[in-house]
């Protein structure tokens, strides 16, 4: 018996858990990480604020990205502005990096559609709530780029649980067959609500799911910002020059509950969470920056204060946002409102004394 085909799944890590850099990635400039670090810290501050708002009845169900900041900020930080992001619901860091405002995210999570009408980036998709469906959309976006010969890339994010769905495989398969500029980023945070990754699949990695679709699949330490940026950066470059799609699995850990409506203590041991805290990405990057003399205690204190002020200001803005007009129930459903809907709209406004 001879092998008919052989595959390998590369793994990338540069920074160890203590922030020590064994060997740097090519063209590495430590300075480049300062804005990334700031954005990761802002994401964490925002998450904490959002959870606090929810706990005090000022926000609806919210999914924190605590512990996943290197993935979410990292992937966005290597994209170009003209690329398109198709995010799942735990990509606060990526959305903020790309220009979505904190007030807009809070509006969305308060149950207000205007939160998805962000001032920028206008072509990015709104948050996808149904699992893995965004993968199919990304392939269509990638097709449009290829069709118009634009050097742009569609970046779609999904969780470890989403890799069990057919949508994910169908999308990778088509993107591969048509060599489309799409990067699939799997954030393996170990838990799909209550189902641990080891019960999600018999596959040793999620990255290897790319092999069946005939596209490159790589795994990286998702708590190492250098590894995330390197792997996704290379995947973006391949896509941009016409070498087709890739799958990047970023291994991280969801330190928070699934959402504010969840209680993770029901299904996972506190020991496991404590151990995961020792690997979290923000402290790891901070240690590295301090070692490099690029960051000081004073810098950290200033950043924390600035971030606190920024999220508080955003929350105040959000809370002061006037409610949507009742008519918006109808106004955006079609480009032109059909007559039967216009009648329903009129009836509602009349009943509510707003006609």
């Amino acid at each position: 018996m001879i092998p008919i085909a052989e595959f390998r799944v590369p793994y990338t890590r540069f920074l160890d858990a203590h922030g020590h850099l064994a060997s740097p990635p090519p063209d590495f400039q430590p300075h480049d990480l300062l804005p990334v670090y700031r954005a990761m810290a802002l994401t964490r501050a925002f998450d904490a604020k959002a959870v606090a708002l929810q706990r005090t009845g000022q926000l609806r169900t919210y999914p924190s990205s605590l512990g996943q900041e290197a993935v979410t900020v990292g992937l966005a930080s290597v994209m170009r502005a003209e690329d398109v992001l198709l995010p799942t619901y735990r990509e606060t860091g990526a959305m903020l990096w790309r220009g979505v405002r904190m007030q807009e995210l809070l509006l969305y999570w308060s149950g207000d559609e205007r939160g998805s009408d962000f001032a920028g980036p206008r072509e990015d998709f709104p948050i996808a709530v149904p699992i893995a469906s965004q993968c199919g959309h990304a392939v269509g976006v990638g097709f449009a780029f290829q069709y118009r010969r634009q050097p742009r890339v569609a970046v779609v994010t999904l969780g470890d649980g989403a890799t069990s769905k057919g949508d994910f495989y169908e999308a990778m398969n088509t993107a591969g067959a048509w060599r489309l500029p799409v990067v699939f980023v799997v954030t393996n945070n170990q838990w799909a609500i209550s189902l641990p990754a080891r019960k999600q699949t018999a596959a040793a990695t999620f990255a290897q799911k790319a092999i069946a679709a005939g596209i490159p699949g790589e795994q990286c330490d998702g708590n190492d910002i250098l590894a995330v940026r390197d792997c996704i950066g290379r995947a973006l470059e391949r896509a941009r020059v016409g070498d087709g799609p890739s799958l990047i699995e970023c291994v991280t850990y969801r330190l928070s509950d699934h959402t504010t409506a969840d209680d993770a203590r029901r299904y996972r041991a506190q020991d496991e969470v404590s151990a995961a805290w020792a690997l979290e990405p923000l402290a790891r990057l901070r240690h590295f920056l301090v070692d490099q003399k690029l960051w000081s205690k004073q810098d950290e204190e200033t950043l924390l204060a600035d971030n606190q002020a920024a999220v508080s200001a955003a929350a105040a803005d959000y809370l002061a946002t006037p409610p949507q007009a009742l008519s918006t129930l109808f106004d955006y459903l079609y480009a032109e409102l059909p007559a039967d809907l216009a009648a329903q709209r009129q009836q509602l406004l009349t009943e509510r004394g707003q006609a």
């Binding site: 069709y147 169908e170 480009a335």
Partner: protein, 325 residues
């Protein structure tokens, strides 16, 4: 003016839009080289190239999902699902995404896609090849749902569907694909979406139908005319939005209404029309509204299929009942 079958008319409309709008892209299973299993896209890949008419991998969910991404980017994707029975796996995309993309982004993104699929029984095809899914779709806010019943309407409505800024599901009655021919001016002129077509004027009873059942409905009207009964025949054509004013105006004139559709009765579009007649046209009605429909059973396999479909005899019996009331 060429005399075209409904299938020819669809092919002509697709060709017109491909030729006149670079954003139009066709894709689906076997639609390129093979021209589609019914040949609706025959010759289009040869004429417009593989970048515009694509054979998609065999994955219906993905076909619908991809159309949404393309449409959000400003293309005008026209995808084909080979048979309506295979479209149910697209519903996640149609309902959760296509139908609400404009709404949930407050107009920032939109979804000008068309999903075409053959619908209906009567051709004695294998299992799952004869479904009538219009009610599932018409129930979904944000979609438009159209089903033509003649070559000329297929041509004009498909042009309108492709040009529409919102997602349109275009249901092609398989049974009519090659059954009828009529002159069609291939001039790029669209027909309006959201408008019913009065195919025959009459004053004694209103017959309302769509898709392939329009054929038997017209045959019934012809036989009624021979008996001296004047039936008005309306092809609803657009299941969403529904043109109730045309139906109400007709029933105001005739006082009697029989609704004919192939899909199962319960929660079918006929129920919506009957409910509207009850609430908006009650004073016009001289008899209860009758529905002649498929039964609330799965569409049978080929041997019993014809027993399921609304027949001329069943339509005539219903007309007899409303006239005798």
């Amino acid at each position: 003016m060429n005399t075209l079958t409904l299938l020819d008319a669809i092919n002509a409309a697709l060709a017109w839009e491909l030729a006149h709008d670079d954003n139009v892209v066709l894709f689906g299973e076997d639609i390129g080289k093979n021209g589609g299993v019914f040949r609706a896209t025959l010759g289009l890949q040869e004429r417009f190239g593989e970048q515009r008419v694509l054979d998609a991998p065999l994955a219906e969910t993905q076909i619908a999902g991809m159309a949404i991404g393309m449409a959000a980017q400003g293309l005008r994707p026209v995808c084909e699902i080979q048979f309506a029975g295979f479209m149910y796996s697209t519903f996640d995309h149609l309902i959760n995404h296509a139908a609400r993309l404009r709404h949930r982004t407050r107009g920032r993104l939109s979804c000008p896609m068309v999903l075409r699929t053959p619908v209906g029984g009567g051709i004695h095809a294998p299992e799952h090849h004869g479904e009538s899914p219009e009610a599932w779709l018409a129930h979904t806010p944000g979609l438009k749902v159209v089903s033509p019943s003649s070559p000329a309407r297929a041509y004009g409505l498909l042009l309108a569907a492709i040009r529409d800024p919102d997602p349109v599901i275009f249901l092609e009655p398989t049974r009519l694909y090659r059954l009828l021919k009529e002159p069609v001016a291939d001039n790029g002129e669209a027909l309006p979406l959201g408008a019913a077509f009065t195919l025959r004027e009459g004053c004694d009873v209103t017959l309302v139908s769509w898709g392939a059942s329009v054929l038997e409905t017209l045959q019934a009207a012809e036989q009624l005319a021979e008996q001296g009964v004047s039936a008005e025949v309306i092809d609803v054509a657009s299941l969403k939005p529904l043109d109730m004013p045309t139906i109400l105006a007709s029933v105001a004139k005739t006082g009697r209404c029989v609704i004919v559709h192939e899909a199962a009765r319960q929660c079918g579009v006929g129920a919506e029309i009957a409910a509207n007649l009850a609430s908006e046209g009650l004073m016009s009605l001289l008899a209860p509204v009758e529905r002649v429909t498929g039964f609330d059973t799965p569409l049978p396999l080929a041997r019993l299929e014809d027993e399921y479909l609304p027949s001329v005899a069943r339509i005539l019996a219903a007309v007899e009942r409303v006239r005798a009331y």
